[in-house]
């Protein structure tokens, strides 16, 4: 990593943080639990780095093991995170029209 890459990464980080702050400030407190489980699923983006390590061949077995465990851990969050968020949201219903 050279200084140019570092700088552009810093810019991206800064802008993404501001976007995140603006977008998330608007989330209704009603949905704070689903918000946390969704961001949890999104942070499982660590799967990208994990895959790049788990899928290589020119490395000691130990490294492949680290990568594989990391892929499994990320997958737990992807599958679990999206599924439970969807389950939660399916529970939020408006009042049913009054029964006769």
């Amino acid at each position: 990593m050279n200084i140019d890459q570092l700088l552009s990464s810093c810019y991206v980080f800064m802008l993404a943080t501001f976007v995140g702050l603006e977008v998330i400030r608007r989330v209704s407190p009603l949905l704070h639990t689903p918000l946390m489980s969704l961001t949890n699923a999104i942070s499982a983006i660590t799967v990208v780095g994990s895959l790049l390590i788990a899928g290589r061949t020119d490395q000691p077995v130990g490294i492949t093991v680290l990568g594989t465990v990391a892929v499994a851990a990320s997958t737990i969050n992807i599958v679990g995170g999206y599924l439970i968020t969807y389950r939660m949201l399916a529970m939020f219903k408006k009042r049913a029209p009054h029964k006769p």
Partner: protein, 461 residues
């Protein structure tokens, strides 16, 4: 060529994540948000699998299968268990980041100062969040004592461990050849995670879980710096800012600062001020309480963690139904820190099939409470304590509360007059307008429902 395709997919994926969070802001669009998030993740995984670095898929498929097998049951847990489930998934996320950082270090490809610094951040944050989240999980699942555990000089010990980890990381960044430092740093970070959570009590869990959410995101972002991958940086930063905002909201709702939450060991039992008059509380039977509820025009139910512990949310829904049928206007007042994570009560009540437009945020609830006939407190304590408004000596003075005491009549379902989690006596219980309904939240609510249903079958109206 392949490279450009991957970049395109990553860019689309980042856009999906931003839209996912944007659409999550309100119930009508929230499901679309989740589906967009899934699309974003599919694009990211698909793009990565195209990368030339990935030469074999055997272990990846095994890992996918294992992850799916553990992930699905974790998504099917009951809503009462969502806080501990969330803590556990913060642990997995942080573990993935820490392990990838470790692998990157031992692979040792071009460990420039910058890259080494990013690996340091990734690994320290990852490992400390891993053990801290496991500890939070243990406390929430009640495998560990939920009361804060403190000892003399605890903060100094904790800060010393963190300082040592950071100092060694700096040394390693300056000379990545000193590989023997790496395991020491990892171990210190793991220890710090544990010691950070030991003094934290259950009532502070909403803030701590939010903070760990933020850390897990930041470690993913650090991974993006290591791999020079913008998608990781963006997704991690979104997660980091989300956790940050939630922890600020939680801190504000308790009128406390970050440092106070992390180092203040709130919830220690205060030497109870036994001094002074023996205060008298009035109690009422289910029959009396049911009669009062039935004659009310408006009822505000104030649920707290106690309702979750007693698994009373479904009986509360029955109470809601029977009262609504009798023409009583029933609403719910939700304090931001009710429960063990942000928004916990809302999800529990939604699971019990209570329509979400009946759930009021604190400010709205407070503007309605003075006109409310009956405020019914179920398993909430400190968030209803008027001492937060009036008593400067109280440890919770200044904390925003639900002004339950302004309702015309107050009923509190509680096992006994024992002080709540924070060990603070609640003067609400001794007001003239307050009736204590002694019993288990679920059992008492069920009795109320029986009484109310019985009255109507008697056909008197």
């Amino acid at each position: 060529m392949n490279d450009h395709v991957i970049h395109g997919l990553y860019m689309a994926s980042a856009a999906c994540f931003i839209l996912a969070l944007k659409w999550l802001s309100a119930v009508p669009t929230a499901k679309r948000g989740v589906l967009t998030g899934i699309l974003g993740m599919a694009l990211a995984v698909g793009g990565t699998l195209l990368a030339p670095e990935i030469e074999h898929y055997r272990w990846i498929l095994v890992a996918f299968a294992v992850g799916g097998l553990i992930g699905v049951p974790m998504a099917l847990m009951p809503m009462t268990a969502v806080p501990q489930r969330t803590a556990l998934s913060h642990a997995f996320g942080a573990l993935a980041a820490a392990l990838v950082g470790t692998a990157e270090f031992y692979l040792g490809h071009e460990l420039t100062t910058f890259k080494m610094a990013a690996i340091g951040v990734e690994v320290v944050l990852g490992f400390l969040t891993f053990t801290a989240s496991l500890m939070a999980f243990g406390k929430l699942q009640e495998l560990l004592p939920t009361r804060p555990i403190t000892y003399r000089g605890q903060n100094i010990v904790n800060l010393a461990v963190l300082a040592a980890a950071l100092a060694l990381t700096v040394l390693l960044v300056l000379d990545p050849g000193k590989t023997y430092l790496f395991p020491v740093i990892a171990a210190l970070a793991l220890v710090f995670g544990v010691s950070l959570i030991i003094p934290i009590g259950g009532a502070d869990m909403p803030t701590v879980i939010s903070l760990l959410n933020s850390y897990a995101g930041l470690s993913a972002s650090a991974m993006g710096f290591v791999l020079n991958n913008k998608l990781l940086i963006i997704a991690g930063a979104l997660d980091g800012s989300s956790g940050f905002i939630l922890s600020i909201i939680m801190c504000r709702a308790m009128n406390r600062s970050f440092t106070n939450v992390l180092f203040g060991a709130f919830g220690q039992v205060q030497p109870a001020a036994v001094a002074g008059e023996q205060k008298q509380a009035r109690s009422a039977s289910p029959e009396e309480a049911a009669a009062l509820l039935e004659s009310a025009n408006s009822v505000m139910i104030v649920p707290g963690y106690g309702m979750a512990v007693a698994q009373a949310q479904h009986s509360v829904k029955e109470l809601f139904d029977v009262l609504t049928e009798k023409g009583v206007d029933v609403k719910f007042a939700i304090h931001p820190v009710a429960g063990r994570m942000p928004g916990h009560m809302n999800v529990l009540l939604a699971e019990a099939d209570i329509p979400y437009d009946r759930l009021l945020e604190m400010d709205d609830a407070n503007s309605e409470l003075p006109q409310t006939d009956v405020a019914l407190v179920i398993g909430a304590n400190d968030v209803t304590n008027p001492a937060a408004r009036t008593n400067k000596a109280s440890p919770i003075y200044g904390m925003p509360i639900l002004d339950v005491d302004k309702a015309k009549t107050v009923m509190v379902i509680k096992r006994s007059l024992n002080p709540g989690f924070a060990g603070i006596d609640n003067e609400l219980y001794y007001l003239d307008k307050t009736l204590m309904l002694f019993g288990d939240a679920k059992a008492f609510t069920t009795q109320l429902v029986k009484q109310l249903a019985g009255n109507s079958s008697g056909g008197f109206h």
